[in-house]
Amino acid sequence: MSRLFAVTNVLGMVIMIFGLTMLLPLAISFWLDDTALFAHSQAILITIFCGLVMTLVTRWHRRELQVRDGFLLVVLVWSVLPLFATLPFMFFMPHLGFTDAYFEAASGITTTGSTVLSDLDKLPPSINLWRGELQWLGGMGLIVLAVAILPLLGVGGRQMFKAETPGPMKDTKLTPRIAETAKGLWLIYAGITLACIVAYRLAGMNWLDAVMHAFTTLSLGGTSSHDASFGYWDSPLIEGIAIFFMLIAGVNFASHFLVWRAKSFSPYRHDPEAGMFILITAGSCIGLAFYLWFMDVYPDPLTALRYASFNTVSVATTTGYASTDYYLWPIFAPLWMLFLSSFCSSSGSTGGGIKMIRAQLLFKQVFREMIVIMHPQAVSPVKLGGSVVPNRIVFAVLAFLSIYIASIVSMTLILALSGLDLITALSAVVACINNLGPGFSQVGPATTFAVLTDFQIWVCSFAMLLGRLELFTLLIVFTPAFWRK
């Protein structure tokens, strides 16, 4: 029980910090004098009060967190914070059920970007901003933020950092102190976001839209304040800027950090994922553009390239913006895009899926197997970027892939059991577990998740958390061994 108390103590502090982040929509609401001021102020009070109580009640149990405590804390943070994030929604839209509100909040915080809300353009700006800010906070990670701000997490902070950061290899420290790393990452993230805001503003968005969309671009979340998403502006320039920043956010932020510190671009060259990520994404854009042109979806190749690039980059990086209803394209195109979303973005980026590095390792493992069959005595380690990857990590990646596929299959079956058609069920699960956003058919880019039943919504919410915490972190808490003394 003492574990739960110790973890609750820290959780309380994280909740208080989270409460403070609600000040931004409150300020906007106050400034623009919209109708949601009441909702925000109540939400802040409740959140900070709850956090305070949790911290104070458990203050005698405060101690250095251990590895297992770390996992528990991460899971609790990611499942409890959406509860508080729902408060502004619940207060402002009482007709919205708790299920839908939780889905909306979890979809924000896990950077999925699926929504159950429609008529987005009519929501007060502060509520839309809160949806964007949730994604931005979840993009770089709440624990990373907590580690950067709260020194008290100590050594345990490192474990949580690892539990939260996506990617199979997390032992390379960028700085000797983990708090410095966390601060550096957040600064880079914030800096690039600022650049993105300015770029959007200059390209023609208003300030509010620029901030909101920069938040959701850099976090690869994909929530928009318009029903038509990027189709609202219909501007190639804005789409170009979005593509650029989505690609930046799809690269490991550790590489951005190194580039910033070394003041040279060479760390990108040493990043084994970045090159492949850009190559595959760019190749897919051009290939799909040709395909769409060839299939007569678009009359001229340039238009085809414009729509293919924006939607492909958006889906491949698991952002989920749409500039058109791509589900209406010939089925190969959306399927290929969905496939890309499951592996394209880099580890340590804000994207979802199994990450490029795992895909590369799996691919190399296949090659190794073939070499060993041909040359039984060959010594053929799996190598990435010129250095050997330990077998332990290769096995971990294989296990990860198995669980990933098993999760997709089982949740698709559950959704099918509850009455969804196959395309909708499969695409909804994949879109949620990859933190992508829109799926196909009933949950396609032109519609919302509102058609699903409460039960189906909960399955999708679980899939999002599962995907964001990269399966193991969440699943480990459900094993009996985890709770054994």
């Binding site: 005595q377 060959a378 010594v379």
Partner: protein
Amino acid sequence: MKIIILGAGRVGTSVAENLVSEANDITMVDVASDKLLLLQDHLDLRTVVGNASHPSVLIRAGAEDADMILAVTQSDETNLVACKLAATMFNTPTKIARIHSANFLAYPEIFSAENFSVDFVICPEQILTEYIEKLIEFPEALQVLDFANGKVSLVAVRAFHGGPLVGRELQELRQHVPNVDTRVAAIFRKDRPIIPEGDTVIEAEDEVFFLAAAKDIRSVMREMRRMDKPVERVMIAGGGNIGKRLAKALEKDYQVKIIEYDKRASERLAADLHHALVLHGDATDEDLLESENVAEMDMFCALTNDDENNIMSALLAKRMGARKVIALINRSAYVDLVQSGSIDIAISPAQVTIGSLLAHVRRGDVAAVHSLRRGAAEALELVVHGDAGSSNVVGRKVADIRLPKGVTIGAIVRGLPTAENRDWGSHEEKKETKDATSGRDAQVLIAHHDTIIEAEDHVVVFVINKKLIHQVEKLFQVGVGFL
């Protein structure tokens, strides 16, 4: 000359053997007293037991008035420290260090006078690797040795029936390959040297040494024998220092398979090599060689530390159908034993690497020395200084120089950068000058009777018998008048 050799390993011993016979005072330092006792018994030298990086040991070895320190212990660190000590405490004029690790070699500035003060850095593994690389590039040759930064090569090739020039007089060579300038420096027939003249007839089985610019090697060799097809597949037995370097150098251009016996070493090897296929196993294991298609190999190189293993695996590979086999053999007795058998080329590491050390011991300005035919003969690259008055060679035609019998001037390279930039080792700017000047300005002249030698020329001299070297050194030395 007073020379201190630190480290009585293979390199140290073979240097000592070579230098003792040339009337040098040699002191040998090593921690292993038994090794030194053995050496003292059959070589005329002094020995000191102790750690070569300790000042007191160096003093006991007589470092105060030594002309040269050769640091060739197993440890790079000891060698570096010894050179630094020699520089600070005794101001020793020439300090040579053997460095294994490519990591040190990657930062040449650490060898400069204000740092470790190493005048010349020698990396035997690197020299051996380059030597074998040349043999793979020219699979028909027995030896390919570079002079003047690779502008001129001395090539040894065995003449075979079917070569257009075999059975004909040397002077016909000019008509056979009119556009190529070359000079046959020596011919060994049944291990006896023949001084080549215009009417000398080349016979099958002759070992012919000729000098030519690097680009002409192939066309000259074509005169002596039928050409093989170029090497594509290489198998290397042994992933030690040499095998690994060779595999690394070759893996981009050739299909390389490398066999290593030690499990952990093979894992490290696989980590360092990116294209070569690393196999864990015994190179003398017939099944392994069979399943890895040794019969399809153009070149099989046995490069382990163990002579017997190298001989056996090379013989086995040859028997199983490898086109050409090379074996690394340390013991000179074994080299004689296998050379004319089914092993195509037996390489004695000491013989290959000794030249780079000898270049610094020779009197006069010697840029390169290559030891040939197990030390019996030698090829030197000498730099000519002075003017017509002070030197015996400057301003004279080749025919007019009073060369001892058995010595031939093969080639002259004009316009190479001067001494301080030339030697490899020590200086950072060396690399740049090498790239900047030597490539373009240098001009290769194959020596004919009427070629006139100028000051600062690099002259490549072939000495059939080692005993003549003193006379050659004397001949090329600058007279008293020149300072």
